[in-house]
Amino acid sequence: MRFSALRSYAYLYLLFLYAPIILLPVFAFNDGTIIAFPLKGFTVEWFRQMAANATLRTAVENSLIIAVSSSILATTLGVFAARAATRFAFPGKAGIIGMIMLPLVLPEIIVAVSLLVVLLGIGVTLSVFTVILGHVLICTPYAIAILNTAFNALDRSLEEAAYDLGETRFSTFRLITLPLVMPGIISSLLMSFTISLDEFIIAFFLAGNEPTLPTYIFSQLRFPKQIPMIMALGTCLVAASIILLTIAEYFRRRGIAKTGGTDSGGFL
């Protein structure tokens, strides 16, 4: 009895979590300009409008440039920090890693405002590039969290065996370490990509006049006429992120299987 009550609560909670996402395609295909029940009929008009929108296309291009660059840079920086954190002991390590991980517990508005003040102060023009600077900062802690797990699962004796067999430090890293942590790197890339693609407040402050996907969506939410198109866009975004996440999850599990660990689950 107690168990079934808890179980029904769990399913209700899942309904709460998924309610907005279930509604998204419902209104995206609904043939009515007002987002409300009862539904009118089936249409793909909103998807057609979405595909024909030039500003949206610029926003998508900008966001893709930002997300790809940020994920590569954040993962690279993450590899350095995670390797240093898991393999070496050095004085001040907790402080240094703590500073790098700080954006995890800092309201994003603070990161955005402080970067804005400094960038304007030294005369940098706001653009896609300045957004990348900010996004790398907030993606790196997530990359490190994922990569720490990957590097921790690594059996150090494998590297030592490679040294003993005459490999150099670099070739050992390339031939032994890198392939073993590759699943972690891929899931860190995908995770950073997803975070950057969805990030609003830093892009809002640092993009200047360049639209990104979230800032474009935010600007359109004010106009009721545009809402059905935004619903169609949202449907595409949700589908894309579910595909990306499934790939990330697949690599995460494969990584755990490869290094012989047990699955503790979760990304964070």
Binding site: Y9, A10, P20, I34, R87, L102, L106, L133, G266, L268
Partner: protein, 294 residues
């Protein structure tokens, strides 16, 4: 000579390798995080000139900020809303974390966690907006109730604190579930059996064994939800309809709309100080649960 040897020894040491490896990331964080934060703190003590900042030490920004009733009201509201969001999120998340940890079979655990994290990775803006669709005047709930015949007049569920709480509790759900789940997973199941063998009821075992051992996870969940929600900009704007602005909206208005950087900085620094203070106070109040760890 001795100095050179010492340097050579240092370059071969483990610490040196660690510093070299961590340096690219650390330098990036110093330049783009630590330095800007320091600048904000410095700016908050400068004077505002028209379109420029006058580098002259003053406490006037803080005096103005703290004597401004609007700022005090908004800060108090932000603390209240974040507090409510945190309480709600953690309270409704705990049973889920408990369910996954204790009642779900090993092989299904990661599938449940995956299910819970998926909504979190979909567009935040669109999720927030959909709550407006759900709670709105002619939204999903109102039109459903109307069709069923329960109400004559649509209920007003938007533009208030409750709507913000629901939306943010939804947005931060996985942040609360995961730390609690991790803490629950660490609990040695033998302790629970021991509790029951010694004659405690299930409820008492939960109260005296499970809950105290899960507290580190609960504390982490509280901080992880509380700190970002107090700086949330989107939800007060969209769900609150601009009628219930929070600190982030005020910072944005001062910084961008009024272009008063020292004032905006003073507000940002004040807000950060308050958040840090509240978090430290919370950690202090829970110190007895955290000390148990190792």
């Amino acid at each position: 000579m001795a100095k050179a040897t010492r340097w050579r020894n240092f370059t071969r040491s483990e610490a040196f390798s660690g510093y070299v490896l961590v340096s690219p990331t650390a330098i990036y964080a110093v330049l783009l995080l630590a330095a800007p934060l320091a600048t904000i703190v410095a700016f908050s003590f400068f004077k505002d000139g028209y379109l420029t900042v006058i580098r002259e030490f003053t406490l006037q920004n803080y005096v103005d900020t703290w004597s401004d009733p609007v700022f005090r009201a908004i800060l108090l509201r932000s603390l209240f809303v974040s507090g409510m969001v945190t309480l709600t999120t953690v309270l409704i998340a705990f049973p889920i974390a408990y369910y996954i940890s204790f009642n779900v079979s090993r092989s299904m655990k990661s599938r449940w966690l995956f299910l819970i994290t998926i909504p979190f990775w979909t567009s935040y803006l669109i999720r927030v907006f959909l709550w407006k669709v759900i709670l709105g005047y002619n939204g999903v709930i109102n039109s459903t109730l109307d069709i069923v015949g329960l109400i004559d007049q649509p209920l007003n569920m938007l533009n208030n604190v409750q709507a913000i709480v629901v939306t943010l509790a939804h947005a931060y759900a996985p942040f609360a579930i995961l730390p609690i789940f991790v803490a629950l997973e660490k609990i040695d199941r033998a302790l629970l059996e021991a509790g029951q063998d010694l004659g405690e009821s299930r409820l008492m075992t939960f109260w005296r064994v499970t809950l105290p051992l899960a507290m580190p996870g609960v504390v982490a969940a509280v901080l992880i939800v509380f700190i970002p929600t107090i700086g949330d900009y989107v939800t007060p704007q969209l769900i609150g309809g601009g009628k219930v602005p929070m600190v982030a909206n005020l910072i944005q208005a001062r910084m961008l709309d009024l272009d008063n950087k020292p004032m905006g900085s003073a507000i940002a620094v004040s807000a950060m100080a308050i958040v840090t203070l509240v978090s430290l106070l919370f950690l202090f109040l829970n110190r007895r649960f955290l000390r148990v760890q190792k």
